[in-house]
Every structure is written in structure tokens, then in C-alpha cells.
Amino acid sequence: MPTRRGFLGHAGAAGLAAWLATHADAIAAAADHAHAQSRAAAPRLENLSPAQARTIEAVAARIVPSGDDGPGAREAGVIWFIDRALGTLFAGARATLLHDLESLPADFADHDAVAQDAQLASIEAGPLFGQLHFLTVLGLLSSPDYGGNRDQLGWRLMGFEDTHAYEPPFGHYDRDYPGFAPPAPAAGSRS
């Protein structure tokens, strides 16, 4: 989320004075609210035991690993999203997930990456992996307000940003676009 100042600065630069005159307060208030939430005190586990959290975080870290190509699910704080979501949005899935989690070795987090990957490969088709994959992706890429995607790390990994307003060119291929030239009529064009 952009800060209030950052947002106003960007929007102003984009020449959106008329729009801002009517909507800046509402948008900025929403952005500030979201920002305050994500600045809340250091989180603590609410719906997972430390052991459960350790296992889930280890799985998440194999789904989107850290490496030479940059940080992954662990650094993005995906586990904090998952912990919170299992008490809120996905509270209904908590009991089954924690039951299924017991099918992984209690010391899963202490295994090396090769062993962990072999274990995950063996459960990839099952519901536990599907659920953990789903929650990992959500924790990586949902708004930081929900506890994951720390410092927008998930968004940055993907090359996504949310700055509320853009101006063309948007990408490489529309940079030197010469403008639309109507084609010759289609042969046998109908209606």
C-alpha cells in the first residue's frame, strides 16, 4: 500500500487534479487505515502451535524457496498470514488441515531440502499439499494488511506493484506504438 503522501504525489504527477478533488480524502483514508494495520506490533501465533507453524513454514519455503534468485515464502512472512487466516477467513479449514498435517514427520522442518522435496513430491496430489499451496500463494500475494507479503516481497518477486494510477506506456511493446491504422476491408466480410 502506498503511503498517503506517496499516493498523492504520484496521482498529482499523473495530472489527476479533478479526480483528486472529489476522491482524494476517501482513498487516502482507506490507504492510511490499511497501512496502520500492517504496522501493528510484532505478531505472535494465534491459531498454530510453534511446532505446527515450523512445519508449515518449512513446507511454504519449499513451495516458494529462498535462493540466489531472491527471498521466498519464508522471508515474505507467509506463516503469519496462514496463522491469522486459520482463525478468520479459513477458520473452517483449520481442524482438517492440522489433522492432515500430522501425516508429515514431526521433524519435517529439520530435514534437508532434498528430503523435504521427496516428501512433498509424495503428497503433491493430495488435499494437504493443495491446501498448503493455496495458503502459501495467498500469504505471498495478498495485501500485506493480511499479515503476509511483508514489505510487498511477494509482489516484488512477481514484478507486480500497486500504485493506484499509471500512465502509458505500460510495457515494452506499447512504447513505440505508431497508432491504429484501419486495415483494408476483409475479403467477403459480412454484416
Binding site: L16, D69, E124, F160, P168, P182, S191
Partner: protein, 552 residues
């Protein structure tokens, strides 16, 4: 805003049920004609600042759409199956934005006019066995002035004359096309390479300031999101404020109409509804206009049964809810060398209509259009791993990183009208108000899937011709859910084979009019809202004429 308030005991001219693409137009037209109108909306009213860039809330927590936690639905593939309930966590088979402005808030805003062929395709191609394939009772020429009205009064950006396939038009677009994106440039490049005729997409999004609204700020949160900039031409920002400004229209939000009342003379007398506190009310009206969408309009008719209408209102022939059409579709993911950044701006800037018409030589029925876009935003994009790509590990992470260099080429296609595809009342499920829930029965006709696969292959050829490094075809699968809710109260001249006449009056109840996606006879090519609104403008003229002539 000089919005009028009416009392329940006061008889208004019109109770309009549903404030979406059609209901917003009807309320505006009827109130501008001087009639008193209460516009009923089950959902809340958002102000622009309430719309958020929150993919989790809007795509996974029913932030804008109907929520199975209070209104579950059920689904089955065919009538001989027992439908399974779709509860919290599932996608409702018939989904729509439940709020003032309805799905015109969260839609993608592709505004294709139907072509002339859409209205008389049955006559041209002949019958298709096992289907309800039929001509419309109206022609493109009859609807053309109302398409123009939508473009100018609701607000559509586009370029007249850019497509050799476009039907005749009486006026150019009021606003130029939105700025082209990289996906548009590539679609155009690839299509031209293949001798096709790409053109700027008509979109119901302001490209310049228009009728008091600002131009699009290209924020990117468009499909599935509401517009905080007021640039998307939803009825929330266009028709509804204009209706209220007449002083004759009250928008009654958080008001859930659960029954249309009729008397012994088989006339509608008003609507029963719940307020936000679930208290029952009755609003008297001289006539009822039903525009709740192709699923909810059918449900309300079926739930409004009585001694005079034992099978549901306006349903003596049993056709209410039948011939549901979703619009089939298919997608191709394509990766390019450089960044496209498709997450910016509107979804679609170029389209291809070269495969719009059906071609019997293919061996199956179908027609459609192709566009290029990002599709859903990061979460859904990351969950929709294409065939052959890893779902985890270093390979998955590499694939995630390709996000800014990808586009989705989407094939938008026909669905044949089948009597077995339907909205009906689930025999068991009740919603949080004790009302019967929607049961959707749906299985794509084999031709729908065959054509979707055909058009997907054309889309793939286009992105390959544009220089894609890699492409993936997502599997073409049977539909289980859609926001395109069409055909369930089809229009026709024959009361035996249709629910409403060519003026949207129900064949059985003189002062009950039904106008929304349910009126469609055939599906069009996958972008229905433009036609829903043109029908609504046209219907409003007829309804007003009847009302003035004491004909309701």
C-alpha cells in the same frame, strides 16, 4: 441528490427489482419519463472510496458477489443427478455483484454490440437438433438506436469503422479507445501477420472525462473489482444518480424482494421484501419490472407461485429458468521476451472478430471473439498453473517471475440454448431468509466445447505469430460457474415457447415486465452487457408507452 422517498403504502408506478446493468437503465428511463419508481437492490450501496484493491477479499471472500454463507446455491451437470450444495469456499454457479449497480461494478466492461447475424442465426443456419436454437423476435436494426444510446449515455470508448465485421451504426463512439497496452499491440501484430483484422476494443470505461466522470487512471484493478475512480461506466455512476436527480426515483438498497404479489385478476400488485433487519414489507406498485439477472429473476418468478400460478409466476409453459447460457470460453497463456506489465490499466485494448460467424464447414456450431489481457491479478494468476509447469520449488518461483512478461489470449464463445440447462429452485436448500435457493443444472453442448477449443487454437496461433517465447493452452473444461446469466426468460412472439414478448412484457401477467440477461434467445459471442443495456433502453420506451396509455 434530491432522491425521493416513498412509503410502503403509497402506490408507485413501478417497482424495479435489481439495480444492475438493466435495472439501472430502466429506473433512469422510467423516472425521467415522469413515473414514480422504487428501485430495489438486495445489496449495499458503495461510494467510490469504498472499493479496494484487495484481491483476497473480492476473489476469495465474496467481497462484492453473492455469498454462499447466507445464500448457497447447488449445482448438477444434468437433470438426473442430485445437485450438490456449493457452500462457503466454493464459487456460486451463478455469481454476480450484489450491490447497487450490480455486476456493472465488477465487470470487465467489454462492450461489443451483437452483430446482425446474432438475431436471425437460426434462419440462416437451420435447426440444431436437441437444442432450443431460435431467432430473436427483434432484429439488429430495431436495437441499433439503443446500442447508440448505451454508447452515448452510459459511456463507451471505441473506434467506429475500425472493424470490417462491425454491424452498421448511426453514430461514432463518444470517446476514443483507451490507450493501447502491450497485450493489444501484440494481439494486433500477431493477428495482422495472419491476415486477420484486429481492432480497438469497445469498453464501457471513460477514456476521457465524460458526463461529469473522470477518465480511467489505469490502476489495473478492474475485472472483479469496483472502480474507485468512477471511470468504469457502471450504472452506480451513470444511470442511477440520473434517476435520483429526477426526484421520482428512490433507490432502496439492502432490500431483498422475495415475492412478487398477484391478485385474482392475475395482475401484479407489488413486491414483498425484507429490509436490512429482515423485517417484511410490502410495496404497492402499478407494475413490476424484474431485472434481477438471469439467475435471480428466474428464481423470484419460480418462488412467487400462487393458486393462480401454481408453477411459479409467468410459468404456465414451464420455460422460466430453462435455456440458461453461460458463454463458453478458453484461454491461452503466452510468455514474451520483454515486460508487458498487463496488471496495469484496463483488461482489454484490442480484439479479433474474424471468427465471429459460425461456419458449418467446421462440423460444429459456434462463433466468437478473441482478446488479450492479464486476466486475474497476482493471486489467481499464481494459482492457475498451466499444464506442464511445476506447482512448487525453484521452477514454480521462476514461473511466478514471468508474470509481467505474460498475457492471456482469451476466446469468448457461444453457448447453445439447451432446455436441460436451467435455474430452478433447490428442493432442500434455504437461504438465511428462509427462501428457496438457486439450483443450477448445466452441461455445455459438445459444439460449445468444440468451438472453444477451435478458437483457443486460433488465439494460440496469433500470440505465436506475435513472437511469444512459450505458450500454454489451459484445458477446455465443462462450465460449472459463470457471471454470464442468460436466456432463462427468453423473448419470443409465441407464448408457448417464450416467457416475455418482444416488448419484455410477460405473456401471462399484463403488468409484469422482465428485462435483463434472462431475455436473451441466443448467447451472443461472450460479451452480453452491452446488449442487456440496449434491450433495457428499448424496453423502457415500450413500458412507458403502455403506462401512459393505461395499458399496464
Amino acid at each position: 441528490m434530491s432522491a425521493r422517498r416513498y412509503r410502503d403504502g403509497e402506490t408507485v408506478d413501478f417497482a424495479v427489482i435489481g439495480s444492475g446493468a438493466a435495472g439501472g437503465v430502466l429506473a433512469r428511463e422510467l423516472s425521467q419519463a415522469g413515473f414514480s419508481v422504487v428501485l430495489f437492490e438486495r445489496g449495499p450501496r458503495f461510494t467510490p472510496g469504498m472499493f479496494r484493491h484487495d484481491e483476497l477479499e473480492y476473489w476469495f471472500n465474496y467481497g462484492l458477489i453473492n455469498d454462499p454463507k447466507d445464500s448457497p446455491q447447488s449445482f448438477r451437470g444434468s437433470p438426473d443427478e442430485v445437485a450438490r450444495p456449493i457452500l462457503d469456499g466454493g464459487t456460486p454457479p451463478a455469481f454476480y455483484a450484489q450491490m447497487v449497480g450490480g455486476s456493472s461494478n465488477h465487470f470487465t466492461a467489454n462492450y461489443w454490440r451483437f452483430h446482425e447475424i446474432d438475431f436471425h442465426e437460426r434462419s440462416v443456419l437451420g435447426a440444431i437438433s436437441g437444442t432450443g436454437f431460435a431467432d430473436w423476435p427483434i432484429s439488429y436494426a430495431e436495437l441499433e438506436p439503443y446500442y447508440t444510446k448505451v454508447e452515448w449515455e452510459v459511456g463507451v470508448s471505441g473506434l467506429a469503422g475500425a472493424s470490417p465485421f462491425d454491424p452498421p451504426r448511426s453514430k461514432p463512439y463518444p470517446m476514443p479507445p483507451l490507450p493501447v497496452k502491450s497485450s493489444g499491440v501484440l494481439l494486433e501484430r500477431g493477428a495482422r501477420q495472419l491476415g486477420l483484422h484486429p481492432f480497438p476494443a469497445p469498453m464501457a470505461i471513460a477514456s476521457t472525462p465524460w458526463r461529469g466522470r473522470p477518465a480511467c487512471i489505469h490502476c489495473g484493478f478492474c475485472m472483479g473489482f469496483g472502480c474507485e475512480a468512477m471511470a468504469k461506466s457502471s450504472t452506480l455512476y451513470t444511470m442511477i444518480p440520473e434517476a435520483e436527480a429526477t426526484g421520482h426515483c428512490e433507490v432502496r438498497d439492502l432490500s431483498y424482494v422475495f415475492r412478487i404479489a398477484t391478485d385474482a385478476a392475475r395482475r401484479a400488485t407489488g413486491v414483498h421484501y425484507f429490509d436490512a433487519a429482515k423485517r417484511e414489507h410490502f410495496q404497492k406498485a402499478r407494475a413490476v419490472v424484474l431485472s434481477a439477472n438471469g439467475a435471480e429473476s428466474a428464481r423470484l418468478l419460480l418462488a412467487s407461485d400462487s393458486a393462480s400460478f401454481p408453477h411459479g409466476l409467468a410459468n404456465s409453459n414451464g420455460l422460466v429458468g430453462k435455456y440458461l447460457m453461460f458463454n463458453a470460453g478458453a484461454e491461452v497463456l503466452a510468455e514474451f521476451e520483454h515486460e508487458l506489465n498487463e496488471y496495469k490499466s484496463v483488461q482489454v485494448t484490442r480484439i479479433v472478430h474474424d471468427f465471429y460467424d459460425a461456419d458449418p464447414a467446421r462440423g460444429f456450431y459456434g462463433g466468437g471473439g478473441i482478446d488479450a489481457r492479464i486476466g486475474p491479478m497476482p493471486i489467481v494468476w499464481a494459482l492457475e498453473t498451466p499444464p506442464g509447469e511445476p506447482r512448487w520449488g525453484a521452477g514454480y518461483k521462476r514461473w511466478l517471475r514471468s508474470f509481467p512478461r505474460t498475457l492471456k489470449a482469451v476466446a469468448h464463445c457461444t453457448s447453445l440454448p439447451l432446455e436441460t440447462n436451467s435455474v430452478s429452485l433447490d428442493p432442500q436448500l434455504k437461504d438465511a431468509w428462509g427462501q428457496p435457493c438457486i439450483r443450477v443444472t448445466y452441461r455445455d453442448h459438445p459444439d460449445d466445447l468444440a468451438f472453444a477449443a477451435f478458437l483457443q487454437a486460433r488465439a494460440e496461433e496469433i500470440v505465436q505469430a506475435a513472437g511469444a517465447l512459450r505458450t500454454w493452452r489451459y484445458p477446455v473444461v465443462e462450465s460449472t460457474a459463470s457471471p454470464h446469466l442468460l436466456g432463462t426468460c427468453r423473448m419470443g412472439d409465441d407464448p408457448e415457447s417464450s416467457v416475455v414478448d418482444r416488448e419484455h412484457r410477460s405473456h401471462e401477467v399484463r403488468n409484469l415486465f422482465i428485462c435483463d440477461g434472462s431475455s436473451f434467445v441466443t448467447s451472443g459471442r461472450g460479451q452480453p452487457t452491452m446488449t442487456i443495456q440496449a434491450l433495457a433502453f428499448r424496453a423502457a420506451g415500450h413500458i412507458g408507452r403502455h403506462a401512459r396509455a393505461n395499458g399496464i
